[in-house]
Symmetry: C2
Subunit: 348 residues, 2 copies
DNA sequence: TGACAAATTTGGATCGTTCCAATTAAATAT
DNA sequence: ATATTTAATTGGAACGATCCAAATTTGTCA
């Protein structure tokens, strides 16, 4: 029931030094003598002192607040959950703590949480912007010199750092693989067409088709929500097509899982009767049945990189925009299936 | 570009009032005249003032910090991700912002992040404790009067509020359902046996068996990591048993998905050849193929309830422990399968 | 031993807000 | 009109740390 907070002055008094000295000890300054440091540290531990960062921040620039913010648009998507874990990982080790907020694709909510984080004096922000985010939404932040790193989705025209995965290369590698397996009718399933990520992956898909001399067929591009349910929906529509596809590159892993589900509901076995490739390489991808062939972007690694970039900018006091692109590689597992030779329709 | 911060004094000066008045309008006090309030608000907007909560907290008790902490042991498990979303949801609407940290089951990490959150002056904490957490780990927090709500896993002997789901009732309802379908060899798969949650679910399982006059067979209890991979592992072992089970209650949905994967790898179709029931009702449960029969605990709802309980305690200044148990219901989908045809008749 | 430099320590002043008691302005009662 | 409420406003002292310049102690060297 201790209502009284213990402060530096009380520590100072108990240790027989001045509050300035205590402060020096707290900051690990080399100016203080080894023996007094020991004494003060002992008293600190003994009295159960807890540092008041709020008070400290008042006097320091808020790049020292040791708080970073991270806002994602859908934490229930394990891609973002893992991204957050990656960020948390490096941020924790650096002695920071993170504000984490979920926007659920609402720009209003996003504006609110960013404002709130700003009031709390975050030293930096990592954001996977909600659809429809505009440069103006981040403007005040960058204007006040707070580093911002945009991940996953870009914001056209915003003068902030970004970390995007190489969507073009990934999509095109995936399609090349399907082509190599003998597929010619390859669909592109899922995702919202009005996003930059969708556009980039679609272009990668088209590039690969073109270099394989396969004509692009717009009816094979079936968009939907970038979720498992969206995947079920997309494959259902794909299967009803006149000249149905034999394989698909999916917008992301969630869609790919949905596509597998939908395939089975249509008595088709993913990997055997239809080639499926995802995007993201979420953890479940490797343990799923069939194991998902997917473009690995390593969400945790991406989170870690974003955090490192942000911390670098915070520490250097230099928030000049920097655009990183995360490398990407195709990991071939089972869902893309074996090479086609004929119409092999086999049921188990 | 370090733009200097605008403070109340500057607002006061620009609006021709005193800083005290500005403070009053900031807090929405009814003491200030409507016309001056309007004038001040206008200036605030005009100059792009941002409130400095750190400074405010210095003067107020830290139950007003508008920060709550949430620490989970595994954010990559979608149960916890959803829990966090539920918490974020109510907490955001109440004008709070949350510190979110992941411990990865490390008590050391947990200790660190809790200490760090405390330095930042959180008004309350929601924690799903890492395995091996002791009451002492939360002691300092409660001693300083900061409300704590423990979720999912309990901590024996800690004087804090808790919100646990009704594991006993859920497990037993699940087993009753399998019995009603005609199963007699029912396994309990996955989970770490040294946790309270495991124990509770196991007892529920046993209770249901007993009331169905089925002898408990310890070899049917196969523990493993509570993850998808753990599920694959557990079912592999179960399938090699002499008198193999025909159905299983799984420790959680992640395990259940793994069990489905493992079943298929063994040429058994979940739902047709083997009944599978999960626990948690993660979002993927309803869209999976087969759709997972599971004990619904509504993770988001649980997060919301935990947050509400915490906010109530923060606002009332009353942190007396309160133990809530979350109701639970069996949602029957496909993975538990139809009634067995070869059901042996028994006296009713 | 005294002078001078280096190593430590320290007393305010300060950060941006809230709180309190005190002041002033406006409204009402006498 | 004056006295008395009531409504609005205000200056200054907190809150708990850091920072700076100045003061103190210690060490070194002629």
């Amino acid at each position: 029931m201790t209502k009284e907070r213990i402060t530096v002055v009380e520590i100072a008094h108990a240790a027989g030094v001045s509050k300035s000295t205590v402060s020096l000890v707290l900051q690990g300054s080399s100016l203080v003598n080894e023996v007094t440091r020991a004494k003060v540290s002992a008293v600190i531990r003994e009295l159960g002192y807890v540092y008041n960062r709020g008070a400290a921040n008042l006097r320091q620039s808020n790049s020292k607040s040791k708080i970073i913010g991270i806002v994602v648009n859908d934490l229930t998507n394990s891609f973002f959950a893992e991204l957050a874990v990656g960020v948390d990982d490096v941020v924790q080790s650096a002695g920071y703590v993170q504000f984490l907020s979920n926007t659920g694709e609402s720009v209003d909510r996003q504006r609110e949480v960013i404002a709130s984080m700003r009031e709390h004096g975050i030293s930096g922000l990592i954001v996977s912007p909600a659809r429809g985010t505009e440069p103006a939404d981040l403007k005040p932040l960058v204007a006040s010199g707070i580093p911002v790193v945009v991940v996953v989705r870009n914001i056209q025209g915003a003068k902030v750092s970004s970390l995007m995965s190489d969507n073009h290369a990934g999509a095109s590698a995936a399609v090349e693989h399907l082509v190599a397996l003998g597929h010619r009718r390859i669909a592109f399933l899922g995702g919202f067409p009005d996003t930059a990520v969708f556009a980039e992956r679609l272009v990668g898909y088209q590039t690969a088709l073109k270099s394989a001399d396969i004509a692009f067929d717009a009816s094979l591009v079936i968009s939907s929500a970038p979720s498992r349910a969206g995947g079920v929906d997309a494959i259902d529509r794909a299967v009803r097509l006149g000249d149905r596809p034999t394989a698909a590159l999916c917008f992301n892993d969630a869609v790919a899982f949905g596509v597998c589900d939908g395939l089975r509901a249509n008595r088709l076995e993913p990997g055997a009767d239809f080639g499926v490739i995802g995007f993201d390489d979420v953890i479940e991808a490797k343990t799923a049945v069939p194991a998902l062939t997917t473009v690995s972007v390593d969400p945790q690694g991406m989170g870690r990189r974003a955090a490192q970039l942000l911390l670098k900018q915070i520490n250097s006091g230099n928030a000049d925009p920097e655009a990183l692109v995360g490398s990407v590689r195709l990991v071939v597992r089972e869902s893309s299936g074996p090479a086609r030779r004929d119409v092999e329709k086999r049921t188990a």
